[in-house]
């Protein structure tokens, strides 16, 4: 049975009236309604905030790449995302796809 990786339930999945809300913070009926939407648009800021919180929880490891830069520590990843440079945009899009995957899991898919 697929489930959210441990700790991911504490990260925001949606922005409501300027607030980033986690699955834990959303009332069950609200969560169900949100997940029923055909498309959930998320901002870059929400994705960056997810990574910021994951780093604070010690769950965002150093990554290695076959191109420059070859190593990105969690702090470097966050800095690139905040600067929205070329690497930062790649990291934001990677986080977006992870969130899409997690929304699929929450929908029971």
């Amino acid at each position: 049975m697929r489930r959210l990786p441990k700790g991911e339930e504490t990260l925001p999945i949606v922005e409501v009236e300027g607030r980033f809300l986690t699955p834990q913070e959303l009332a069950r009926e609200h969560l169900r309604a949100i997940l029923a939407l055909p498309e959930i648009r998320v901002s870059d800021e929400l994705l960056i905030e997810r990574v910021r919180r994951r780093i604070a929880q010690g769950r965002e490891p150093t990554i290695y790449r076959l191109g420059f830069p070859m190593v990105l520590t969690p702090v470097e990843q966050l800095r690139h995302m905040e600067m929205r440079d070329e690497i930062g945009i790649q990291l934001i899009e990677a986080e977006r796809k992870l969130l899409e995957e997690e929304l699929t899991i929450l929908r029971g898919g």
Binding site: Y64, E95, K97, L98, E101
Partner: protein
């Protein structure tokens, strides 16, 4: 025409990332051997452009599989020199290629297809993974295994007979199955979300171009090329040896009457298997050299190709050892000795009456002959102050192949120089930055070296260049700064402790400099793995000029991004004084004459006109349009 059931694995080993990739590639090689494919493994220092291209030309495999660093247009192996680029990849014509590298599917992949490659698998993203132990086999490393097993599924599917389409599907399916593992049995791991994120990233970054119906495996009954007598690893010149074995199918049944080839460094001899499937190449003898030898069956209508492994045979190996190294510094006209022993590696005996040459880079300095015990001793003297790079070399002959000593850097006297030879108070970073200062040459001659004070942390490369300053840059004017010479590139390693000092960079082709002219001495660095490389400057004794630019060829002209008034960089240029030859510049125009001409911003009249110029870089200008 590339040959089916042959593949070439490119397996660099130059950094810790490559080491882990190397260990993953071993699993692909294992699969290829299991499937009976003709496998060429280009490992470690063989994973470089020249050996790889030679192997592709020699073995002509249908499938090229590589791991390594890259970017949109470049794939590199064991060094920074690219193996394939978008403009130099014609050797991949007619082949199927899979490169586990960064971004190559964006530029290199389409280039391969455009020059006639059959299919290309690669990544349009920076292939990313997570690991906690670079020394581990990634198949046994908790975090890394999903990444490497998924990527390896592409070549393995091809090896097992799948088409490119099947390989792509199996590769994606493998990524998905690992994502599923981290969403189920491993979802309690604190890093699970990050692992899933980067598996998705790599999966979605996979791109396949070209003919997806193509395959690499030949149709036919698999064959086995057994070896009974293999070539020895070392031989004397023309010492007879035999290479023999048998050709069978996988059931052990002999295959008589089949034509098999002996391949020695690409040269082919042919024989036919006897009634028991045996083949033999007896009483072979080779001149001194290093050879790669194997026997192959190229297959026919019924049977698939087979081949032996490759044997490296060193014929007539010699070794040149240094017993009297040259000093690191000597005076002008001061004699010094450089000597050693030339010996036969097989017997250990000294080799008498052999020629030994002394080289300074690419210049032959002197020659001597070994004595009865193989000893050689060179008496060396230089009559000009300069820096030299010396090595001794036995050039080889039919009995023994060549060998040479390491390079020794020697400073002869104190060459004249211009620039700043004191250590600056401030520190600047060369990471992705060109930095230089302007100095005036006191006399004419040829620049031989740039000496720069640098600090190094971990590992990287540096090189320097000299520019002629026709018009110095200012805050309002980019100036006119022209490249006239580039030094050698040198690698530095400083790990775990950093180090610093004056580093010399020699000009392989010393450029001319003129008395009273201004020159900018520029340095540049490429750091690896988050390394750092610094220069020193200041305080407040002049300007330094800067441009942020990824390490590549030096730009010409150099247009600085900023001018810093905080000080001159600690860098100077050594030269050999020389009266430079004059040449006559002649400028003519047609169909009209009378066109004004400027040289180095100074008028030299109208066409036709001449001007005597000292050898070196000059700027010649004529107007784009003239009124008639």
């Amino acid at each position: 025409m590339p040959i089916l059931s042959r593949m070439l694995n490119i397996m660099p080993y130059r950094c810790r990332y490559c080491v882990q990739g190397f260990k993953a590639m071993v699993h692909v090689s294992d699969e290829a051997r299991k499937a009976g494919l003709f496998l060429t493994e280009m490992m470690k220092e063989q994973a470089e452009k020249t050996p790889v291209w030679e192997a592709l030309a020699r073995d002509d495999p249908i499938f090229v599989n590589g791991f390594g660093h890259g970017n949109e247009d470049t794939y590199t192996g064991n060094t920074e020199t690219p193996i394939f680029t978008s403009t130099e990849c014609d050797i991949l014509s007619g082949r199927i290629v899979y490169l586990q590298s960064c971004l190559t599917a964006i530029g290199l992949g389409p280039a391969v297809i455009s020059i006639g490659g059959i299919a290309y698998g690669g990544y349009k993203v920076a292939w990313t993974w997570i690991t906690t132990d670079f020394t581990a086999d990634p198949y046994e490393e908790w975090y890394a295994e999903g990444f490497f097993r998924s990527s390896n599924e592409f070549p393995i599917a091809l090896i097992q007979g799948g088409t490119v389409r099947v390989a792509k599907e199996r590769c994606i399916e493998q990524y998905n199955s690992w994502i599923n593992i981290w969403e189920t049995t491993r979802s309690d791991d604190p890093q699970a979300a990050a692992v899933i994120k980067w598996l998705i990233y790599d999966r979605d970054g996979l791109a396949v171009l070209g003919n997806e119906d193509a395959a690499i495996v030949a149709i036919g009954i698999p064959t086995i090329m057994q070896v009974e007598v293999s070539p020895p690893p070392r031989l004397r010149a023309r010492e007879p040896f035999t290479f023999s074995g048998a050709l069978t199918d996988t059931g052990g049944n002999p295959l008589p009457g089949k034509s098999v080839n002996l391949v020695i460094n690409g040269t082919i001899a042919t024989t036919t298997t006897d009634g028991t499937g045996r083949w033999a190449f007896p009483d072979m003898g080779l001149d001194a050299g290093i050879y790669l030898i194997y026997v192959e069956f190229r297959g026919d209508e019924v049977y698939a190709p087979g081949r032996t492994i490759s044997y490296k045979v060193d014929v007539g190996p010699s070794a040149i050892q240094v017993t009297v190294p040259p000093p690191s510094e000597v005076g002008v006209n001061e004699h010094f000795s450089f000597g050693g022993v030339l010996s036969d590696v097989i017997t250990g005996a000294g080799l008498p009456s052999k020629e030994v040459n002394l080289w300074d880079g690419t210049t032959l300095v002197s020659t001597t002959t070994t004595d009865a015990d193989g000893r050689w001793l060179l008496d060396v003297v230089f009559d000009v102050a300069k820096r030299v790079t010396l090595f001794a070399e036995f050039p080889g002959d039919p009995e023994f192949h060549k060998s040479s000593t390491p390079n020794y850097r020697v400073r002869v006297g104190k060459p004249p120089y211009f620039g700043k030879d004191t250590i600056g108070k401030f520190t600047g970073n060369l990471k992705g930055t060109l930095a230089g200062s302007i100095f005036t040459a006191p006399e004419s001659g040829r620049a031989t070296a740039i000496i720069a004070y640098q600090q190094w942390f971990y590992r990287g490369w540096n090189k320097c260049a000299i520019y002629r300053v026709l018009r110095p840059p200012t805050h309002d004017d980019p100036g006119d700064v022209r490249l006239i010479g580039v030094t050698e590139e040198r690698q530095w390693k400083a790990y775990p402790e950093g180090r610093e000092g004056w580093m010399e960079y020699l000009f392989p082709d010393p450029p001319p400099i003129q008395a009273g002219e201004r020159y900018m001495l520029v340095q540049w660095a490429k750091e690896e793995l988050g390394s750092d490389d610094n220069f020193k400057f200041g305080p407040w004794d002049g300007n330094w000029y800067q441009k942020d630019l990824d390490y590549n060829d030096f730009p010409d002209p150099f247009v600085p991004y900023s001018i810093q008034g905080t000080g001159l960089i600690s860098v100077y240029c050594e030269y050999i004084p020389e009266i430079l030859p004059e040449h006559t510049l002649k400028v003519e125009s047609s169909p009209i004459s009378g066109v004004p001409v400027k040289v180095d911003d100074t008028s030299i009249g109208v066409t036709p006109t001449t001007k005597k110029l000292i050898e070196g870089a000059h700027k010649v200008e004529v107007p784009d349009e003239v009124e008639t």
